[in-house]
């Protein structure tokens, strides 16, 4: 792998950039692999990278129906934070944040993790109670999260409207300064390039059509649009389409898929310094390095596998944005789009074994999976390499819906996350 650096960049500038290599190969599938990962999004590619780099498992294929990074990895609003309530979630997301902090260097790819701070706004007494509960819980967990008064929130985010006359006035906020945003495409590409360099085959335009099981019921191969590929272990990381793929292995997953929408404005000069999330009025906003306001909207009310939602959903998000930041009323929506998110009953992910031996799953990240990408890949690689969960993903079993040991962040916060 040709290293990226200012030095090589300048050298290539004198070489008309003719010397750059492919960032990843486009290999034909081999007949068999130790591990096959289904889904070349951020989570799947990260899993492959950590399998190769931390566990020495390099005979790995990542197979992808479309193009790598073409799903939710490249469609989300890139918010990264770890100030979750429960120890299980906070542990997992904090693991991810720590990896984020060194990810550009680890991958030799600038994923632009920008720790500009994530501010979550409280708009009613219930929010205040809930956010303080988070702040206190995070203190015991050793995770940064602080309570801000409305005036402090305004100082941190000058465009914020803290007028008492708002329909839902800002009563304060919880700020995680280490939170921020990253460049989503670069995450997929960086993991792909680094995994590829370690020998992982990334096989795009290859759809899984079925699973082949041996006499004892264990998975021994996946059937794909490009033929049968054998594998000792298979990990499915297919976000909104996980339920569809696992149905082909005879598994019925506790998942519902919804279209989730986002939009960007036309680019403008720097005007918005941080990330603001308001669950009560439903608005999520940051400004990209390109200058676009990146705005997260909600999910449609109906389950769907279509990446197109109704107009009323982004409209409602913009109502909230203009309420909180009236100066943006004359900005323009440049582009809006949808992705399919897979949601579990307790809004926490499932990372671990399935009922089929050799078949593992990493899914159910709902509306907030991007932030977990490195941590999710890291613990799932451990799970695939050893056959047993890493301590951090041990609580996130499929079985918890049977035992009742739920990790219900949404119920706890009464919010999406």
């Amino acid at each position: 792998m040709r290293r990226f650096s200012l030095r090589t960049l300048i050298a290539e500038a004198f070489n008309a950039h003719q010397g750059w290599e492919r960032q990843w190969r486009n290999p034909e599938p081999k007949p068999a692999y130790d591990v096959i990962i289904v889904g070349a999004g951020g989570h799947g590619l990260a899993t492959a990278f950590y399998l190769a780099s931390e566990h020495g498992v390099t005979n790995v294929a990542v197979i992808e129906k479309g193009w790598l990074g073409g799903g939710n990895t490249g469609r989300n609003t890139t918010i990264i934070r770890s100030n979750y309530l429960y120890d299980e979630s906070a542990g997992l997301y904090e693991h991810a944040v720590k990896l984020w902090e060194g990810l550009s260097q680890a991958l030799n790819y600038n994923v632009m993790y920008s720790q500009r701070g994530v501010l979550m706004l409280a708009h009613n007494v219930h929010d205040v109670q809930s956010f303080k509960r988070h702040v206190y819980a995070n203190r015991l967990q050793g995770i940064d999260n602080e309570w801000l008064t409305p005036e402090q929130a305004k100082a941190f985010c000058p465009p914020l409207n803290i007028s008492r006359d708002l329909r839902y006035p800002v009563l304060g906020g919880a700020l995680q300064r280490r939170g921020g945003v990253a460049r989503h495409d670069a995450v997929a590409w960086g993991y792909a390039r680094a995994a590829d360099a370690l020998g992982v085959d990334i096989i795009q335009n290859c759809e899984v059509t079925g699973f082949r099981r041996n006499a004892s019921g264990a998975v021994e191969a996946v059937e794909t649009s490009r033929g049968t590929i054998k594998a000792k272990r298979v990990g499915v990381v297919a976000a909104g389409h996980t339920s569809v793929i696992l149905a082909r292995a005879g598994l019925r997953m506790p998942l519902e898929s919804f279209p989730l929408q986002a939009l960007v404005s036309e680019p403008v000069k720097p005007v918005f310094p941080c990330v603001v999330m308001s669950n009560a009025v439903h608005a999520y906003i940051s400004q990209s390095d390109k200058g676009e306001l990146v705005i997260g909207a909600g999910t449609d009310q109906y389950v769907s596998y279509s990446q197109q939602g109704g107009l009323h959903v982004p409209m409602h998000a913009l109502d909230a944005i203009c309420e909180l930041f009236p100066q943006f009323s004359r900005m323009r929506m440049l582009r809006s789009w949808g992705g399919i998110v897979d949601v579990t009953p307790d809004r926490s992910p499932i990372i671990g074994k399935t009922a089929v031996p050799g078949l593992f799953v990493n899914c159910g990240w709902g509306t907030g999976g991007f932030k977990a990408t490195p941590g999710s890949g890291h613990v799932f690689a451990h799970t695939l390499a050893t056959g047993e969960p890493h301590p951090l993903n041990a609580p996130f079993t499929l079985d918890r819906f049977r035992t009742g040991r739920l990790i219900d962040e949404a119920a706890a916060a009464a919010v999406t996350h």
Binding site: F4, F14, K132, P267, D319, L334, D346, D408, A414
Partner: protein
Amino acid sequence: MAGVNRLPRGGRIDRAKPVSISFNGQTLSGYAGDTVASLLLANGIHLVGRSFKYHRPRGILSHGSDEPNALLSIDRGPGKIDPNNRATVAEARGGLVTASQNHWPSLNFDVGAINDRLSPIFVAGFYYKTFMWPRRFWDRVYEPNIRAAAGLGKSPDGPDADRYGNRHAHCDVLVVGAGPAGLAAALAASEGGKRIILADEQAEFGGSLLHDVTSTVDGTAAQDWAAQAIAMLKARENVTLLTRTTAFGYYNHNHVAMAERITDHLENAPDHLPRERLWQVRAGAVILATGSHERPLVFADNDRPGIMLAESIRAFVNRYAVAPGRRIVIATSGASAYRAAADAHAAGLAVTVVDIRLEADCGPEVAFVRQKGIDVLTSHTVIAATGRKRVTGLIVAPLGSEGRVGARRTLAADCVGMSGGWTPSVHLFSQSRGKLRFDDAIDAFVPGQSVQAERSAGAARGSYDLADCIADGFAAGDPLTARPRLAATPSLTGFQPVRILPTDADATRVRAFVDFQNDVTAKDIGLAVREGFESVEHVKRYTTTGMATDQGKTSNMNALGLMAGIQGKALPAVGTTTFRPPYTPVTFGTLVGPAKNALFDPARITPIHGWAKEHGAEFENVGLWKRAWYFPQGRETMHEAVARECKAVREGVGIFDASTLGKIEVVGPDAAEFMNRIYINAWTKLKPGACRYGLMLKEDGFIMDDGVVARLAEDRFHVTTTTGGAARVLQHMEDYLQTEWPDLRVFLTSITEQYAVIALQGPKAREVIAPLVSDIDLSGEAFPHMTVRTGFICGVPTRLFRVSFTGELGFEINVPSDHGRAVWEAIYERGRAFGITPYGTETMHVLRAERGFIIVGQETDGTVTPDDVGLGGMIAKAKPDFVGKRSLARPDIVAAGRKQLIGLVTDDPSLVLDEGAQIIDDRHRPVPIKALGHVTSSYWSAACGRSIALALVAGGRERMGETLYVTTPDSFAAARVTAPVFFDEKGARVHA
């Protein structure tokens, strides 16, 4: 005559109405009918901005909504400034203050242009390869600098002075685009009386005919034919005509969203008009007559100001009577540009045509312009443009066989028109989820299979000839009636696809732009493909081509063509990126419409709201409701007011507005059975006239909602819910009733808003209402705690509940909403002698906490079972099933160590803990510390003379008397575990 380059005759401008605007502080004149772009060109101004990345000088590329370069900040008055307006769309009118963007210190001298010198480094995706060391420099040094250099205009910094409208409309046929095909479609579709909406983004209908001064249709000038068509449509009552209205989004079920611009073009807009209006149209059928976009040619320095699309020259000359230059060179690979050459020549401008095609491959267009005396160089390529802030010429060279390039020569030019062919505008079709099909004959994607009730017509489906467009429009508008084909001047169509012009220059040094706004060159596309970005989506994201504010209208096909060429694939094999709404950028305010301030979310208020407001209440938001929070008197703080209100209820009588509580009537022969299945409690034996506290679970076994339920009759229950849960509970009930138990004969009716509820609580409550109530025996024996009676209060029918959420003797008086305030006032008047005190939600919270009553959503959070909060005994064990029953048997629900509701009293009685504070058993442990639970409620209790708290703590009921530690903002506080009840432990007072 306004402007040095204004032609003496012609155009659709109104020379009787001069206007002047300001551009970068300079006052410029033009006429009504000008766009800002045509006005600038009339004044000889081509340099209007700097590009996104390299800060290269940029001019006006087009004459319409596909403009990538000419983006201006426009100030229309206080609170009416906004960035990134396309000068080619913004209509000129008096009072406009415009300014160019993305430069410092000035448009002419921009320090940022250093980026252009560094362009050998700043190639596509360079930022992924560097800026990684040292690690902390990314958000502190690199990123701030990158951000400052990026972005285009400046965001407004104050509130928007305009307002916006919103309209829903239904029609049989929506026609998008009022060019020749759209007009024909609307004419045909509206003949039979169907409801038609015709919308076009331009200020006038006519589309391309607005700048076509030579064609004829059906024997008359094409513009006259269009005028007649418009007049006919105007005369039809079943037709709604919308100019300045852009259909920007095509959603499911033929839902099309359109933005209408209403006042921006008016100098003195009446106050009653909104600036823009959102139209949400549901159409029986949609006809997309959205026309096509011209492709630029890709050659070195093709972005110099003064270089524009050939058709745009035609538009500026014919429609706006502006000479975009005096010496014009048209570079083309197709026939249509010859019309531009002819029209510019006819306007007295010097014109030369350079055609990439072999003479033999050209059509009659060559002879057509040569006979007018125009020089045509066929089989020539353009090597480069010269000039920096304004084009000065084109370096051209003859093409030899096998791609050899002959001797260069320079053609002087102050304006260059380029045409690389045409691309149908399939954006809306693609948004409708229709499948595109590649048409080799016209080298473009065209609409294939429709998914919705939609049809494309005219140039939008690659039918470029004028007569064809009209015939196609007729057929689209009314497929059942054959109409005679109208004769029209044959259009000059046909072009040779060319991805990048052949050159003898070192290809690695050439900077030929594909995406003008985002500064993406052909080299960048090559680099991306070389680096393995093979998918069109990858190339788009890696190079940012097509991601600018023009959404790739001018760049996409060239980028795709270049990719195909490099990869050696056919263009359709490369595919196309997804077209996403909106078609052109839409103002946030337009999408918000009236949904701001009070209308952001309509506030729900109770019949007693006005009284509370008049009596100084502070309100809190609970769901959509405004609830009286507390009633401060004089300069009282909240703490003082609440302490006073609490004392009044405990010692005398308090009055509380409980109208927001959800109320549902469950009625029918199977009502009791339905209640049995929904709630954990048993209902069969509850007698009419009796009340019971009910608890319901979700399927997962966790508490969902609670409330007192009264059985009014065998077949009728009056259910109450939490304020925030009312809609959710009704939905939950309906869901089960309709999908799981359709056999049950039960009707559910929300009666929340039908009844005002006045809670009268305190030892003197009975005395206060006694004289006001009739037909009900209020005595303790006849009307005990947890019963309901119907009768009258103040002559108004009432459902009178004897219930208490305070622990005191109390009544909840349900009266029809219309009488709510009158009854409230009557009770209040009567109560004055007893010191009646209005109290708010905060006091209600304190009083119930003193008694240990839970609030769903505060003590519970969706992870709490009935047993966790000490209500396990309410579960009717004998019932075969109820929602959530199965989940209560799950291993982790019955395991030891679950969090249980307890009371906490702090060692320091004056310390009121924070709600949400975490609880641990050893304060000296290092982080991370496993918390045992958290404080759910915490108040100052006047009745106890100390602070009290409720908490959920692991194994809490086994910890009575233990000392635990609770987080405070900067430390921990010690507190002792008690039973979750602090006052009147036996609960005797309610029976008073």
